[in-house]
């Protein structure tokens, strides 16, 4: 009986998110307290369910639910360790971002619509995480695009709409490529579940038709590369910065970009298998692209005058670490990549929350206006510093751990140049983060900001999430070696799932 109950958990978690969305839509804008309750209740329940699933997986239960959508394609949700890594991250950060968003959007309109689509986004992310086969992955991948669009254009002014158009142009283009790729895959090998180490049917098909297999792999990767913001498909990410801070946090840390990176992992590791992907000469191209993106993202970040655009380009560069980890191919590199998936999420969400706080409390968007903000908002600035140092890869924090494993993993595979990329990225990160820290802490304030209302520097709802995620960044770094840390979980995934690498 227990196993059966476990089996239904994935569906229960998915439906929780969807139900929350439905309730929030139904409640409408007026009833604020009820909406807040349902938002938090939904996020909390989902997190609880996901943790329960994690517990179940640890116990070795197989958590799976599947129903046939078409004669040739079934929608299948499987809670394997890899899926749960992403699911736990997105559920946890959803709860935190919800708290933040409730405070951030105080007094602004269309909140029912915002929170409704917000919950749908996370439902889609959960689906992407637990997708058991390429078809399900594609379904939730596209649903994610649709659910995030209204959030990107939430403010509704012309700049937001323009950003929305760019966002759609890229993501739907990517979606079309993924559709063609997935359909071709299904036509070639029929319905195959994601199998760590690659699907045997795909391997056998690749022997028969290497050119077709490469083309389909290119299409699949092209599709997910858009959301993984790989060069040259990253244009939408900075454009989407026009959205409010919780949405940027969602896009960058919780859902969209992660879905892209997760997609790369699923395609390279669980569909083709690294050996086949390498044999088809795709992984070198992918790692080259990732490297280019890392450097390109950081260089463009340097040139940005606005905080959120700089963070956006930083995301473009950081996410490619995950892709690099996958493309490098060794177990250690993959561990590094997967750990970075969580670490980058935690760090980037802290940075965006801080950016949101600065925008919301001080009304500042540009970096050169943040002089002396450390004094006016010590807590936010401290969190920002922790996350920024983390992004730079300063050791005690999470960023260092991922870079350490990526470096070692790449070298184990003989790709020495990856070290160069890592080092270059560290320097570039330092180049665009340290000046900000200097302005925050060491320079006197040049602009007059509204005085503090009461003791706290900003609304509690804006501060607690920031503190939570900053601490998480610290702990993810310090306690990296423990089994429950992201690194520990990533290591378990790789050892259990991909011995062959």
């Amino acid at each position: 009986m227990m196993a059966a109950a476990y089996g239904l958990l994935p569906l229960a978690a998915l439906l929780t998110a969807v139900a929350t969305a439905a309730i929030v839509f139904a409640l409408g804008d007026a009833r604020r307290r009820q909406r807040t309750f349902w938002n938090l209740f939904g996020a909390g329940t989902k997190l609880a369910l996901v943790l329960l699933m994690a517990h179940g997986v640890l116990q070795g239960h197989t958590l799976e639910v599947a129903w046939p959508a078409l004669p040739g394609a079934t929608l299948r949700l499987v809670a394997d360790p890899l899926a749960l890594l992403f699911a736990v991250l997105s559920s946890l950060l959803w709860l935190i971002t919800t708290v933040y968003a409730i405070a951030y959007l105080e007094g602004s309109g269309q909140r029912a619509r915002f929170f409704g689509f917000f919950s749908l986004c996370v439902a889609a992310t959960f689906g992407v995480a637990l997708a058991g086969n390429p078809f399900t992955f594609f379904c939730f991948y596209e649903l994610l695009t649709l659910a995030t669009y209204p959030l990107v254009v939430h403010r509704g002014h012309s700049a937001a709409l323009a950003a929305g158009r760019t966002y759609l142009g890229y993501t739907l283009g990517g979606g079309a490529a993924l559709l063609a790729g997935t359909a071709a895959l299904y036509v070639a090998v029929g319905e195959q579940p994601f199998t760590p180490g690659g699907m045997p049917a795909v391997a056998e098909w690749a022997d028969r038709a290497p050119v077709a297999a490469t083309a389909v792999l290119a299409l699949l990767l092209g599709g997910v590369a858009v959301k993984a913001a790989l060069f040259p498909l990253q244009g939408w990410l900075p454009a989407a910065m026009v959205a409010p801070a919780p949405v940027s946090a969602l896009l960058h840390a919780v859902a969209v970009v992660k879905a892209g990176a997760f997609g790369v992992v699923r395609i390279i590791e669980d569909t083709y298998g690294y050996a086949l992907a390498a044999e088809l000469h795709v992984t070198p191209v992918l790692s080259a692209l990732a490297a280019v993106t890392i450097v390109y993202g950081s260089v463009r970040a340097l040139a940005q005058a606005e905080l959120k655009r700089r963070l956006a380009f930083s995301t473009v560069s950081q996410v490619s670490f995950i892709t690099l980890g996958v493309a490098a191919g060794s177990q250690l590199a993959l561990i590094g990549g997967l750990a970075h998936l969580v670490h980058q999420g935690l760090m980037k969400i802290t940075l965006f929350f801080c950016a949101g706080n600065y925008a919301e409390t001080l009304g500042e968007h540009r970096i050169d206006a943040l002089n002396g903000a450390g004094r006016r908002m010590p807590v936010t600035s401290a969190a920002f510093t922790v996350a920024a140092l983390g992004m730079m890869g300063a050791p005690p924090l999470a960023g260092f751990i991922s870079k350490w494993y990526l470096g070692i993993g790449a070298l184990a595979q003989g790709q020495g140049w990856v070290i160069g990329v890592l080092v270059a990225s560290t320097l570039l990160n330092a180049a665009y983060f340290l000046p900000i820290l200097r302005r925050l802490w060491l320079l006197p304030a040049t602009r007059d900001w509204p005085a503090r209302a009461g003791r706290a520097e900003a609304h509690r709802g804006l501060l607690d999430p920031v503190l939570l995620t900053a601490t998480a960044v610290l702990l993810a770094g310090l306690l990296a070696a423990t089994p429950l840390s992201p690194l520990g979980w990533a290591a378990r995934i790789v050892e259990q799932g991909y011995p062959g690498l």
Binding site: R155, G393, P396
Partner: protein, 531 residues
Amino acid sequence: MSVPEPLLLLPILAPLVAAALLGGRARRLGAGLLAVAPLTGLLALAPGAQALELPWLLLGTRLAPDTLARALLALTAPVAAAACLAAAGGYAGPRRSGLLAALAATVAALMGLLLAADLATLYFAYSAMTLAAYPLVVHARTPEAFRAGRIYLTMALLAEAAVLAAVLLIAAEAGNVALAEAPAAVAGHDRRGLLVGLILVGFAVKAGVVPLHAWLALAHPVAPVPASALLSALLVKAALVGWWRLLPLGEAALPGLGAALVVAGLLSSLYAGLVGVTQRRPKTVLAYSTVSQMGLMTVLTGLALLQPAAAPAAGAALAVFAVHHGLAKGALFLGCGLHGRRRGWYLLPPALALAGAPGTSGVLAKAGLKEVSASVAEAALGPLLFILSALTTLLLARFLALAWRGDGGLDPLPQRLAVLALVALGLVLPWGVGLRLAPAAVAYALQPGVLADALLPVIAGAAVAAGAFALRGRVGMPRVPEGDWIKPALLAGVRLGRAARRGWRAARRASGLSAPRSGSLRRSPGPPPGA
């Protein structure tokens, strides 16, 4: 009595706790604790403290002081305590708690570096120390301070990148290896040449090897006195720790790189000495003296690299030399901070020690160096060492000339106490360490012949100084800007950049690519407010 393992964490945590208290309301308690905190480092010297294993922390942290670490801890504890005492008691400038917090952080990182026994913790402590030192450099918040800070950070981060690459290269082969086995791993590494090169360059910046010493010369004058004491006496030693933990000393003979290191050491010692003499400000002179002394220690490392057999002896000599130099330089810098009329008397003993006057620790250190160089390079370095000692004496004479007279202010007791403590220790501690690590060197140094030999360069130096002093009216001292090559290089760089931009715009206008942009940088179309 064996010290329970967890206490090994104390030296790292104590300063951090003090810093935390400083942030809060208990400022006075924090300052007091900070002065005491570094002394907890001495606990590690207790015979029983073996090693601390924290598998859950970071990537599996291991703390275990070895002989070099024990020696340097013996140096660091008192000097750091003195610096903190001086800062807590004596520093009258603005943002005192900010300075104390930065000091605390730097000391904690330094302790971590010394105690680290695995690769990740070593790199962690090293990069934390680099970042923590930055607020010290820019503490004055003057444009000059920020420029020095920027140069310091740029050079430090570039160096750190090299260190990171090296660390990753080692870790790729051996994982988060214990530092004991690191040299063997490096020796056996298939890219050993590149790896050793990276290690050398990575730590050379911190060690102030010419031409990478520029940041030192710029940082010291702007940093507050306790900070520059810390920088000069302890931080530069971190480079030595880095070299001696990672380089395959005693494992593999690397004649090429070893020789290069020796030459570089000699060169920087010579060059620093010459440039130091021309400086106007006492702290800059001291900075160049540090570069010069570090040059000698680089020579020692080079020698160990040249001949693995000599590595243990070189190590012992290095430890003694480092302790001697640390105490002396700490005393001198803190002395500079004094305002009393008779400040010179406080400065004389450490100066003499540094110059290597007989009876002082300088003789012991120089003796050790001479003995090792003799065994490796068959007396080739003898005359050179002689010249360098003389140059050092000249340099210190120059310093005494500049800094003899304080400006008459009242010196608070803690500051004077700190200087006195260091001076006293300077006389005793090096000999203690020498007896502990290299009894032969001590015996060698106490022979009358050696004492005589030591006196000669001092006298020569003093003579030259007296001559220069006499001629000071007529012969103008050549003007060399602080940080010598860096300032002109930067100016040239800025001019080059501006010229390039003008050329690029002209080219674009010629090719009619785009209408000439309006003068001011057009405000990028950021989102309307309320985004």
